[in-house]
């Protein structure tokens, strides 16, 4: 049984401008000790996907139209309503992009970490506070007892993110959701935070769902990768499949737009021209067709199905791509697109 399983998730938002179809059918599963990276541009629905089953989507205007989520087989998304609090605090811990605005500026760091322990674990204030200091120590904050008495403004960005991790881990969750945890940090501090997440995962075996747009971070952290575009998963597979045998043109586009640390000399960055489609009225066909260098007639009119990519050797993760190029009758030679062994 999967630790966390999300199936056919559809999320919409009602706005004055109409209905935004933010997530249009996302499935994934997450097992113990595994790190799943969800990659994509702003607005592709990666944050909404995880917020929907943690109860962080305001409803209304948000609406879970269809789909389910189970944690150890228990439904946590019954009838479009989240059975929130219990799951959120105890089983799923979350850290966010901007630690400065995600913490309460009027509470000491120690009290904020102790709060979930009092609410979810029923600890007394004093025990909870002692535990908070231990947690700060675990996330390698120097002088944890003194730091616990301080307020968020007295912490640097990197230290705040450590405090956020301490808070997320306070109830020993089985799943840690990290929504762009290092995007706001310097690369030096990012390296420290990523190392810390890896160490903590090794110690307590939690699963990590990591949302990011940085392929470098994905390469460092992930076992499995979901590439999202316009509210759908366009490619999924093991980190090696997605990087070395990319099967969707969007994944190739993202890779070409990233600077590498590799070879010296001149190579140009290749941006993906245009911008993502309007999710008020998602395109009928493939969401990426308007920007895709390999777009065919079929792509405009009909949504591509998900194709399994045959691997040379058995892999722990299936490799799939939502693209017409993998249709058996398609004979277009798309440069760089991996079509299976």
């Amino acid at each position: 049984m999967a630790l966390l399983e999300v199936s056919d998730l559809h999320v919409e938002f009602d706005t004055y401008g109409g209905t935004v179809h933010a997530v249009r059918g996302v499935d994934f599963r997450l097992d113990e000790g595994q790190t799943l990276a969800i990659v994509g541009e702003s607005g592709c629905g990666k944050s909404v996907t995880v917020q929907s089953f943690t109860g962080l989507i305001p409803m209304p205007p948000g609406r879970i139209v269809r789909g389910g989520a189970t944690l150890r087989g228990h439904d946590i998304l019954g009838g479009g309503r989240i059975d929130g609090k219990e799951v959120r605090g105890r089983e799923i811990g979350m850290i966010f992009q901007d630690p400065m605005t995600s913490l309460n500026p009027t509470m000491t760091i120690g009290d904020q970490i102790a709060e979930p322990l009092q609410v979810h674990a029923g600890m007394k204030r004093r025990t909870a506070h002692a535990r908070a200091v231990e947690l700060l120590e675990m996330t390698r904050i120097p002088e944890p007892a003194k730091r616990a008495e301080q307020y968020p403004f007295e912490f640097s960005g990197g230290m705040l993110q450590r405090a956020m991790i301490a808070m997320a881990l306070s109830c020993e969750p089985s799943v840690l959701i990290a929504d762009e945890p290092t995007t706001a940090l310097d690369v030096t501090i990012q390296a420290q935070i990523l190392d810390l997440m890896v160490d903590l995962q090794r110690e307590n075996g939690m699963a990590i769902a990591l949302i990011t747009h940085d392929l470098g971070v994905v390469a460092r952290m992930a076992d499995e990768v979901l590439v999202m575009y316009a509210g759908q998963v366009v490619e999924r597979g093991s980190v090696d499949d997605v990087f070395y045998r990319s099967a969707h043109p969007y994944t190739l586009g993202l890779k070409a737009a990233m600077p590498t640390n590799q070879s010296e000399g001149e190579q140009d960055l290749q941006p993906i021209d245009g911008s993502p489609p309007d999710l008020f009225a998602p395109p009928e066909g493939c969401g990426y067709a308007a920007r895709c260098p390999f777009a065919m007639e079929a792509c405009q009119g009909q949504p591509p199905p998900v194709y399994g990519i045959r691997a040379a050797a058995a892999d722990a993760y299936d490799h799939e791509s939502r693209c017409w190029l993998h249709h058996e009758d398609c004979d277009i030679a798309a440069e760089g697109v991996h079509k299976g062994e």
Binding site: E41, S42, S156, G157, G158, M159, D186, V187, T188, I189, Q190, A191, Q192, L194, D195, H213, D214, L215, G216, V217, V218, A219, R220, A222, V239, D240, F243, Y244, G253, L254, K255, A257, M258, P259, T260, N261, Q262, E264, G265, D268, L269, Q270, P271, I272, D273, S275
Partner: protein, 331 residues
């Protein structure tokens, strides 16, 4: 020295310093004694962590902050220590700035046409239809459309807003532009669009730029030379690719090593390179080398004696400047 630096510089900073008094007799040493010359049509990338003073340096350079000490020479002329409104009017045609945050740096109550056209209205003789045509042609040049003139900033995505900011800065065709983290708020695919746009504009307009960023791998694509800043001073300066691929200062080495590569196999085999600790407060600047408390190669003299930025031979690539006792003659 690179060829570019051998020319007469367009902009030169000599001992540029900017301190902020924060009360109780405490002083923030944001920029301390920075000297850097930028040749015509050269792009210098300025990198460093948050708090290293790179944005303050950019703003002091073009007069948005007063100088505490030192001077800026522009085309052989000494710029005022403290800009008065008349100075801004005089130099706005020559020097412009592109700001970091495309959300807060555009006035939400002005249309795109007004935002981009404001410089023309204040600093040029162009009026009416002529001014409108210039604005329209700039919008096209940065990849927007003339139809966008009557729209407001909130109707645009982050990448499009950054293009508006670029059009606003370049509409007066300045000689020198300070780009303060112009891409760090954008998505990867859009970052590449903006980087390539700046490259094209540099080629077609002969722009000279100081490109401030914390993402070293992007800076390498844009810059001719790269300057690395730590806690208010420069620690390394040299040809961009050389600094990136063969860093000499221990800080540069760690900064580049911290950048994860989009390649799972090499990331798996790479040991952790996280630097210990964080950048110290610029209020109590340590004596000696400012990087000493985090440096893996620290020596005794580093804690007492501040290293100077000195030329160091760059194997087969001329010279580079490094401020580190490892490269002193005495070491």
């Amino acid at each position: 020295m690179s060829e570019a630096a051998a020319e007469t510089p367009l902009v030169e900073m000599r001992g540029l310093t900017r301190h902020f008094r924060i009360g109780r007799g405490e002083v923030v040493h944001a920029v301390d004694d920075v000297s850097l010359a930028i040749a015509p049509r050269e792009i210098v990338g300025l990198v460093g962590e948050s708090g290293s003073g790179k944005s303050t340096l950019g703003k002091t350079l073009i007069g948005l902050h007063d100088k505490t000490a030192g001077e800026v020479i522009y085309q052989g002329q000494r710029m005022p220590d403290r800009y008065r409104p008349v100075d801004f009017r005089r130099y706005a045609r020559d020097m412009q700035m592109i700001f970091q945050d495309p959300y807060s740096s555009l006035n939400p109550r002005m249309t795109v046409g007004e935002i981009v056209g404001e410089g023309l209205r204040l600093h040029s003789d162009l009026r009416g239809a002529e001014a409108r045509d210039t604005v329209a042609s700039w919008l096209v040049r940065v990849g927007l459309s003339p139809d966008h003139m009557s729209r407001y900033p909130h109707e645009f995505s982050g990448g499009q807003r950054q293009r508006i900011g670029i059009a606003r800065a370049l509409v007066l065709e300045p000689e020198f532009v300070v780009c303060d983290e112009p891409i760090s708020a954008l998505d990867v695919s859009v970052q590449a669009q903006v980087v390539n746009l700046l490259g094209e504009l540099k080629a077609s307009l002969g722009l000279t730029m100081l490109f401030i960023a914390h993402d070293l791998s992007m800076v390498r694509y844009v810059s001719d030379r790269m300057a690395v800043m730590y806690l208010g001073s420069l620690v390394e300066l040299g040809a961009a690719n050389r600094v990136f691929f063969a860093p000499k200062h221990p800080y540069t080495e760690l900064l580049i090593g911290s950048n994860p590569e989009p390649d799972p196999a090499s990331e798996r085999s790479r040991p952790s390179t996280a630097i210990r600790g964080e950048i110290p407060s610029p209020v109590n600047v340590p004596p000696g080398c400012r990087f000493a408390n985090r440096c893996p190669k620290v020596m005794d003299r580093c804690r007492t004696e501040a290293p100077e930025l000195i030329p160091v031979a760059d194997e087969g690539h001329g010279h580079r400047q490094v401020a580190c006792h490892l490269y002193d003659a005495a070491a």
